[in-house]
Symmetry: D2
Subunit: 347 residues, 4 copies
């Protein structure tokens, strides 16, 4: 299975083509719409005011409600575009955004409107593809959940039971500890008030993957496969499995997960490894955390350079932006994890 | 360019085949040997006592001292094997090691001796391949350096100037602050004394990559490409670019790297992004940190399960193991980064 | 560069996504339409009466008339569908068509209407993709032409000068010898009259490829790359380079192309090798011939099996079909060759 | 599963690395040796006098006689090299050989001795890899056989029953009609006598592949997959499936294979399609024919160009060469077919 996302934020449409989806899946289009609704903006003061209906049209690969095994193309028409907001940014790249390297890479031939192909809007087809992937995983007992693990230094409660995330991720603001969630939301609104943005992190779990998938080798190891999908999500700057960066604080005797037998099945007493040893699944839930940078598009004045004249200039980003991408990224990270899990399973 | 590593720790030989190496490179075999010497064990009390001569034999792809553009195969014969040490572990997997998922994956058909294909020994051909990659990068002004950024919670000084790492990485114990380095070494020896191991982290920098390489898309984005190579290094559990996990503590106004003009060239005042925006290089050094778990092979008694009987057992790992893999992993991470940089450049 | 075709003959739309198209190409949409017009049916009694407007809508990857380097998606809406014609064929596969293996592969979940994804209609997006590829090749001096080399045993004149094909391929009925072309057309109309179809072959030339591209190895050799693209064209059953099957009649002294110097450039006196030695281009035009089977959809009664009952049945294919696909396949083969040439050049 | 061949004809060794071989296969090394013996030269006056012991050493991926699922590396040491024979050819490429494009591609940095990496000797590791593939296919009821279908215009009898080839291919000179075989051998010896070479063709069959494998799409279609492997065999210039080039002489009513029920299974009355419809297997034997050009290395004087001076020169190829590569290519084509069948099956 392989997916290709296409489109620009202010072009006619964005979409995705999935190759290798097995035939015979009764495709639940409502479930695709439900996942897209989770990431849709315009619902709360935490997110951009841009409205996106995100109605998916399936162009191919489905017949009489079932997948046919041929390439599955889904398209989402663009709407509610304020392209004029971006005219002033055409030659003055936003710091820490794809604008500048994108300009260099394309020799100036890029659709600068709304971030073009580098826009967070392109995560909509990713979520749609992930929703298809989830429907392949569910009958195999594989489920995915995530929570906001931190925003601007405010951390959620520590995850004790990975299964818990499957329900938590459905919350409007998916955290384990709602009090911490309120603090996080306040931090986002503060940043918004001050024309700024904040970063954060998401912890995600994939339950039900059997032991023995993957390999240690380049291109086959489970961490590498997941990271490939996760880093393709805009704003993700770090991917850490299991104990993650805390491994640097640990001894082997603390970090090792003792092997035991439970209900006749070999399992581990703890899951510091995040379900992966030697690049292979070990039968425990795959657990990882991604760090997302603060949205680079902020309304505060910033230093940039005019690409035509080479002169330093001050810019202020207009347009409508998320003061924090993390809440809306939860279903996106889950979608990426679903696609990664499909690759690990050999779809 | 593509590399394939083969071999088992106690088999006749290990090696690597590199496809797509450009023709006409005057190959410096001494430089390959020098990189291998950096990772070779048996040199200090910090590492395993296992001696590995690691002499590389080039089987193909080089003629009269130059690469021919055909597949370049390098082989390293194995020696100094104490296979008997592992007999007792055949059916009692070491916790947090690839033993158990490897057993499941292979249906029991794996070379259990010395970790087999999952052994850290397989990083020797990776270093050899990386040494070839470095020779392609050097004439393009691209260099790679790394330091041990932390061991068992003891952190090295903060990196101010990425260029500094190019020299630091050549140190016997590559840290910016040697006093911190001594503390780290003491922590390793403490762990060794107590038959335990410790984890840590390595920060690595790739200087000289031009702006505009990569793309935001799956399979093409620079973070995803690097992570694919880095997670293929045994024990790596996290990969974080630029400010990394600290992005979760930041506001956009802090995290953004202002664009300025320096000597007529557009650059950034800071490098929180680690040289990558929107999945593309921005012309600043690519900077990332990897977290390495403590070696799972420790001599302390541990809980395991006998795979034949399904009974819980206690094991004590014999054999010769590194109490901390981090120091020897420095050239390995650099090698992975060199191969990743080649892919990013389109080799 | 990579292309993915999606769609079903009677679905809402068909299309193609091209990844890796370089940025900055001034895209000539008229040239795309012109190529599609070459393969469009409904123009002559030689082809199906089905009308296809084949208007390409570009969804992404082009901005202000230039390619942006991001995925280029093109969509063609379907129209003029007579889906009812196919209802009777749903469970009685047409002999020698993809119907039967497609049914097995998909477990019965396939869009049977009009051949679904296996329809020759899917060559329209292939031609569109090829038209983009041609625009990358032209500025590099690379051109592509083809002629109908045989239909139902009637052979065109022998090609003396490969360059000649660049003009000949633009003919309404592209043959070197128009008298032969009239015979071929008569053979097609005879077959049509008798509710039958005929096969044939197309010879194609790619001029301007420099020497030294490709490699002998699997996945890299020029013949293998071209064949991968050519066999993806429905009905192609054979691909032969240079002297092709006639090599089996030759001695080395006849088959070898003597090397000579012409205008200071090394070239060959003859081109039996079809421009390829050892899997690499040698600087001569790449020449190959493809054999296309007769259209399997014929109105004559045929033996089939009812997939529901397992009983042998007689079928007569209704619907509108080409009595000979070869004339309309000429631009399709050229498109496949253009995409292959791009891969060989490293796009 | 993926294979990578490395090595040069006169280097220290040649070999192959196979990735993705499933674990648990009891590897029959004798069967590998037996396949290599089929292609070994030095046995008859029909082939080169060069002796090659072709003893395969397995470096990895096999433990206690079974595959481990890790990369399987096989190496064959080179011996009996007369490198001096080639010195005179270093700068005077043999017409129609890879010498000239190889020189251009590598900027002159190629191992010219014995054809280097472009040598037919590199088919030895291909045969070894194919022998492993065959051991994966056999338990699934999949078998492969081939015969020499023509040499220098002398055709073998027409194949009636594909199963027949499984035995015929084991003959010393594998033809259906031994009288024709004698004529062919005489033609080879005549050519040898006259310091020339001859071309020919091989027809190959893969029996036992189930229906419904593959897809019509680029990269997935069965003809494309097979052709990729077959064109990677040196000297192969054409690949034609089923009726092959004869499709250009046929009507649909002749070419179509009527569907019938036999022993409760859907099958076809004839197999003009060569077991493939719409790029997918249809359950009938996969049948194809490859055309091999005459060996370009002949002792007769030939026109070439001195690459140093740009002057036209006459050369006479010394060294030991096959007057006809076809007989020794039979096991090579079968090996390529075995690897292709593995890919089609999803290994």
């Amino acid at each position: 299975m392989r997916y290709t996302i296409f489109g620009e934020s202010h072009g006619p449409a964005i979409g995705v083509v999935m190759e290798g989806v097995p035939a015979g899946l009764v495709l639940d289009e409502g479930a695709i719409a439900a996942q897209l609704a989770r990431r849709a903006p315009g619902k709360s003061p935490l997110a951009t005011a841009r409205k996106e209906t995100d109605a998916v049209q399936i162009l191919s690969g489905v017949f009489e409600g079932k997948t046919t095994g041929t390439p599955l193309a889904m398209v989402i028409a663009n709407a509610d575009q304020h392209s004029g907001d971006y005219e002033s940014l055409r030659y003055t790249p936003r710091p820490s955004h794809g604008d500048y390297p994108g300009f260099v890479k394309s020799g100036g031939c890029l659709d600068y409107r709304g971030g073009g192909h580098f826009s967070g809007r392109l995560t909509a087809p990713l979520v749609a593809a992930g929703a298809v992937a989830r429907q392949l995983l569910a009958p195999r007992g594989i489920a995915i959940g995530a929570h906001i693990s931190a925003i601007y230094g405010i951390s959620d409660a520590v995850l004790e039971d990975p299964e818990e995330l499957l329900a938590v991720s459905q919350k409007e603001f998916p955290v384990l500890d709602d009090a911490k969630g309120e603090e996080m939301q306040a931090a986002i609104l503060d940043a918004k008030e001050e024309q700024d943005s904040v970063g954060g992190s998401i912890e995600c779990v994939v339950t039900g993957l059997p032991a023995g998938l993957g390999a240690p080798d380049f291109g086959c190891n489970v961490e590498g496969i997941f990271s490939q999908y996760l880093f393709a999500v805009p704003a993700v700057k770090g991917v850490d499995f299991g104990a993650g960066v805390a491994f640097a604080l640990m001894r082997g005797s603390e970090a090792n997960d003792p092997l035991v037998v439970q209900d006749g099945v070999i399992t581990a007493k703890s899951n510091h490894a995040g379900g992966i040893n030697g690049g292979m699944t070990n039968g425990m839930p795959v657990v990882f955390e991604v760090t997302l940078r603060p949205t680079p598009s902020i309304a505060l004045p910033q230093e940039s350079v005019d690409l035509r004249t080479g002169e330093e200039v001050e810019i202020a980003v207009k347009g409508r932006h998320d003061p924090c991408i993390v809440p809306r990224a939860v279903p996106v990270i889950e979608a990426a994890a679903a696609l990664a899990a499909c690759e690990v399973l050999g779809f």
